[in-house]
């Protein structure tokens, strides 16, 4: 059996994707599937190439909203987690509130925010932040509180203050958990921005997709999916790379 290297698994992934695309292309041609039901990959790529600048502009807007929302969500999640760790007796109350926000369906909040805040980028950023902050909150709380018992004993034997315990032990212990949260939240941020645009926007990939869907123009609808998949994969890889650099003391937890 061949050794399992990152190189060989990347090659395997590429082959799987290629086979899938070829089967799709062949199937569409063989059975003459009408383009308003399922466009062939070649048609989608052609659409993408012919409208490159339009898609580039939409992508920029969507990614901008997604990243701004993610940043806001991560900041909120980390800050609330830190507060709950330093002031434990408010945890139950704040967590109920967070779960309430988490349980409210996005499709119910998105139109409301559009109604209140208009078709601009602000409601998209807020929706993305709402969607991404919960995984961060839950993971960072775990990271801050699940500290190695022997290290905790040691810091206690030194009579370290609560603040120093937090700064030198709890916070660094939480870094791997922050990455675990980011790997969940980053793809969610893209989804959040697109769904938010779908419910009413003046631009962005979600808006393009909604228009294409309304006109049953399927190549236009599929092209953004290709872009979104590429962005999702790039974001994940970027995070995995940063994780390996920053959390060097743990074996890599990322499937590449």
């Amino acid at each position: 059996m061949k050794p399992h290297t990152p190189d060989s698994s990347a090659r395997a992934a590429l082959i799987i994707v290629l086979v899938f695309v070829l089967l799709w292309e062949g199937g569409v041609r063989l059975f003459s599937v009408p383009v308003y039901l399922l466009p062939a990959p070649s048609t989608i790529l052609l659409t993408l190439a012919q409208n490159a600048s339009m898609y580039a502009q939409a992508t920029l807007l969507t990614v901008g909203e997604a990243l701004a929302g993610l940043l806001l969500g991560v900041l909120a999640g980390v800050i609330i987690a830190v507060l709950l760790t330093l002031v434990p007796h408010i945890e139950a109350g704040v967590m109920s509130l967070a779960i309430m926000i988490k349980s409210t369906p996005l499709v119910a909040i998105a139109p409301l925010l559009t109604l209140w805040l208009g078709f601009g980028v602000l409601p998209k950023i807020i929706i993305t932040a709402l969607l991404t902050f919960f995984p961060v909150l839950v993971n960072v709380i775990s990271g801050l509180q699940r500290v190695d018992g022997a290290l905790l004993d040691l810091f206690r034997s030194w009579r370290a203050s609560r603040w120093k315990l937090f700064l030198y032990l709890r916070l660094p212990s939480a870094v791997p958990y922050i990455f675990a949260a980011l790997k969940i939240s980053a793809p969610l941020a893209i989804t959040g921005a697109v769904v938010a645009e779908w419910t009413g926007a003046s631009g962005g990939l979600g808006r393009v997709m909604w228009l294409a869907y309304a006109n049953l123009n399927l190549p236009y609808l599929f092209a953004p999916i290709v872009i979104l998949a590429a962005i999702g994969i790039s974001l994940y890889r970027l995070l995995a790379h940063a994780e390996r650099r920053l959390v060097f003391w743990l074996p890599s937890s990322t499937v590449e």
Binding site: L154, R156, S157, W158, W249
Partner: protein
């Protein structure tokens, strides 16, 4: 630093029927190396945690250095703690794992050694820039020892510090520990379930009974260092400790039959 434990009992919450430690009394003069020996669950680790004030006793008193409570002694940085886990910060190099004491301890705390001095005391000067995960188990425990030496403390509480190491590494480290202990002469309480280790190191062995933990025997080890296992005097003390252990095991089994 002397230590007096009087009528000390401890019951863990939720286990009311069976105390971990019951009416334990003993006095340790300054500079003595005491091994606490007994089967697992005999409360010897509990005793150590009580003295380190990591937990609070249900009843009884602990006096350190002629009247300080454990918590006062810890606040004055008189106590150094070491356990089976090296408890190193994985994101810091060996040197920084010691240097962090400066930041974590209250300002103005006196330290006995610089990080580099401490590393060379345990033979780790070449590993100063290494991260703990690249070090062997024995080297990690040496690093923990270097950190303990850095503290200017005169009561070392050591909870089976070498128990997770292989026998050879363990003997090497015990030998090195003795050499580090002799010039400084801190009071040591050393929890172990290894009788040989206890007799290689300690001036005195306290044998504990299991559940509830009580002192079954208080045995002097008046042997010079380094100690030879083949020495008849060593064998004689070994027999004494063995007898105390099996005696109280028989009593325990009879009582719980």
């Amino acid at each position: 630093m002397d230590l007096t434990v009087s009528c000390l009992s401890h019951v863990y919450p939720g286990r009311k029927t069976r105390p971990a430690l019951e009416a334990v009394d003993f006095t340790v003069p300054s500079g003595q190396f005491v091994a606490l020996v007994g089967p697992s669950g005999c409360g010897k680790s509990t005793l150590l945690r009580l003295i380190a004030s990591l937990i609070q006793p249900t009843a009884g008193r602990i006096e350190i250095d002629g009247g300080l409570t454990p918590s006062q002694a810890a606040a004055a940085q008189h106590i150094a703690w070491m356990s089976q886990s090296p408890a190193l910060l994985p994101w810091l190099t060996a040197r920084d794992n010691i240097a962090i004491l400066r930041r974590v301890l209250p300002e103005g705390t006196r330290l006995r050694l610089s990080p580099d001095e401490a590393l060379s005391m345990v033979g780790l000067e070449a590993a100063a820039e290494a991260y703990p995960f690249t070090l062997s188990g024995g080297m990690q425990q040496r690093l923990a020892l270097a950190r303990l030496l850095t503290l200017d403390s005169s009561l070392w509480l050591m909870d089976e510090p070498f128990a997770a190491l292989d026998e050879l590494t363990r003997e090497r480290l015990s030998q090195d520990l003795l050499e580090l202990w002799q010039p400084l002469r801190p009071t040591v309480l050393w929890v172990t379930h290894n009788i040989y280790e206890a007799l290689r190191l300690a001036n005195r062995v306290l044998v504990f009974t299991p559940q509830p933990g009580r002192i079954a025997a208080d045995i002097d080890v008046p042997l010079p260092y380094p100690r030879e296992e083949a020495d008849p005097a060593f064998q004689q003390v070994l027999l004494q400790v063995r007898q105390a252990l099996s005696l109280n095991r028989n009593q325990y089994e009879a009582a719980h039959a």
